[in-house]
Amino acid sequence: MADPLIALVLLGLLLLCLAAGLWVALSLGAVALVALLTFSNAPAGLVLATTFWGHSHSWALTALPLFILMGEILLRSRLSNDMFSGLAPWLGRAPGRLLHVNVFGCAIFAAVSGSSAATAATIGRMSVPELTKRGYPQSLILGTLAGSATLGLLIPPSIILIVYGVATEQSIARLFIAGVLPGVMLITLFAGYVAVRAWMNPELIPQEAKQFSFVERIKASRNLIPVALLIIGVIGSIYTGLASPTDAAALGVVLATLLAWLSGGFSWKLFMDALLSATRTSCMIAFILLGAAYLSVAMGFTGLPRNLATWIAEMNLSAPMLLFALTIFFIILGCFLDGISVVVLTTSIIMPMIAAVGIDPLWFGIYLVIVVEMSQITPPVGFNLFVIQGMTGINILEVAKAAFPFFLLLLVGVGLIAVFPQIVTYLPELMSR
């Protein structure tokens, strides 16, 4: 069978499984199994066991359940409530008000965690119930959360930049630095979008109950101290070398528990609730990651993404046309595979193409991350969508609809770094001197 036909068959099968209500992890696994049995000579069962085993005990992944647990603890303590009452007086006049908590909360948390799923789970756990209670529109709550959480990938530390750096032998330190300004650019775009929406539709955003004087604001800010301590503690432990980025997640749990207990109202029972809830959520995400890994391996054996990339390579495009073609290619692939798989499956073919047309591999790494960020919020396979569905019970298609403007904003971000590559290269070049 020809490659495009195989791709269509597998795609149809995936959509069918998902539509029939087969669990997401199992839909990915089942399609991978069919692909391996039908279109490759690999022993599908042995490969399945190896993949499940090999991808379930990775050290980098251990941060995920811990960050989720931290979010669950914060949700059940006074801390998340306090954070919003501390921020409300300050954001009361800003267009979009507390929606910016999602954007900036994700941005700050992104400096702690390297994964976008953990960012969505931790921030969303606190912000979604609080913002819903205060009457903010669902689509903007979910959209800002899904979109901003993708910053976890771009703002250092970043798992995907490590994967890219290792696969292409780029300096990981330089990649991390290169991600900073594009991260700020995306934060600005996201916050700007929220502000514009609020300006255009003032009735969309609920009024804050009262106006605060400056003194009242300062007083209310005391509520922010515990959360600030938590953030400073976690980020500080990374930047003083006390903890690696993965270690820092454990510190986050310990600090969150301590602060929750000190601020009162936290109990052993609430802690157990948080722990069991975190266990379920991280099991759900890990199972989908395993299904996605199996699909990625199946794609490696069938060679589909590789052949598609080769097909693009054979067009001998100019640099701008190549980027255009690759962006479309990655967006399509990103709908069906998780971002990291897209990177590892195609770098072997893509990197020589990049080198041939003279694109800076450092710049390309950041470009790739932003494109992969998009894949986190495109259905049917988008991890931020899964996390948010798991958290709120709202269907991934609805979440995806809410996140669509942010998909477009990420696309604008790609356009901006393509036109102004200095956004990426300025800081790393400063480092070289």
Partner: protein, 174 residues
């Protein structure tokens, strides 16, 4: 029987939660050692040998042991947008099909996870870190978890057939 099974899922889930807590404590202990090493070098050993390996193995255990518990609490997500629009009888039919396909896939995975354990035992495979850990140990946790997930799927399938109503849905909590 039903109560015994439900208790088993819950117990495995608790074990999984315990593993996550242990990972947290293990890493925290390492952070304490890092701190002590800075302030008073030489007072305590500087590392817990292979702590990253142990954390990884416990994570694998936590993931697989919680599979059945998560399934039964509606924690594994699915897309029910389409199914919701079907007639009640069609819902039961698709639910039946989904459970059947899931059982076949998980059964297949279980068989080969078991094969992997036997192979690791046969060759005496160990991890490559500072402390060699026999791989069959964490792999057995994986296999047990997949086995329990299969039991939970079949259990749900039987409940679907006997009660005639879909059992599991995604929780609607916000």
């Amino acid at each position: 029987m039903r109560r015994f099974l439900n208790a088993t899922y819950k117990a495995a889930g608790m074990l999984s939660a315990f593993l996550i807590l242990t990972i947290c404590l293990l890493i925290s202990a390492q952070i304490v050692l890092n701190g002590v090493g800075r302030l008073m070098p030489g007072l305590l050993p500087s590392t817990i040998p292979s702590y990253a390996d142990f954390a990884g193995f416990m994570l694998a255990g936590a993931t697989f042991l919680a599979m059945a518990y998560t399934l039964r609490s509606g924690g594994h997500i699915r897309v029910n947008l389409v199914v919701q629009r079907l007639s009640p009888r069609a819902v039961i039919l698709t639910e039946f099909l989904a459970l059947a396909v899931a059982s076949v896939f998980v059964g297949y995975a279980l068989y080969f996870c078991g094969a992997l354990v036997l192979e690791s035992l046969h060759y005496g495979d160990v991890s490559n870190g500072i402390i060699p850990v026999p791989l069959w140990l964490p792999q057995s946790a994986m296999t047990f978890g997949m086995g329990l997930l299969l039991v939970a799927l079949l259990h749900t399938l039987v409940e679907l057939v006997t009660t005639g109503s879909p059992v599991l849905s995604t929780p609607d909590e916000v």
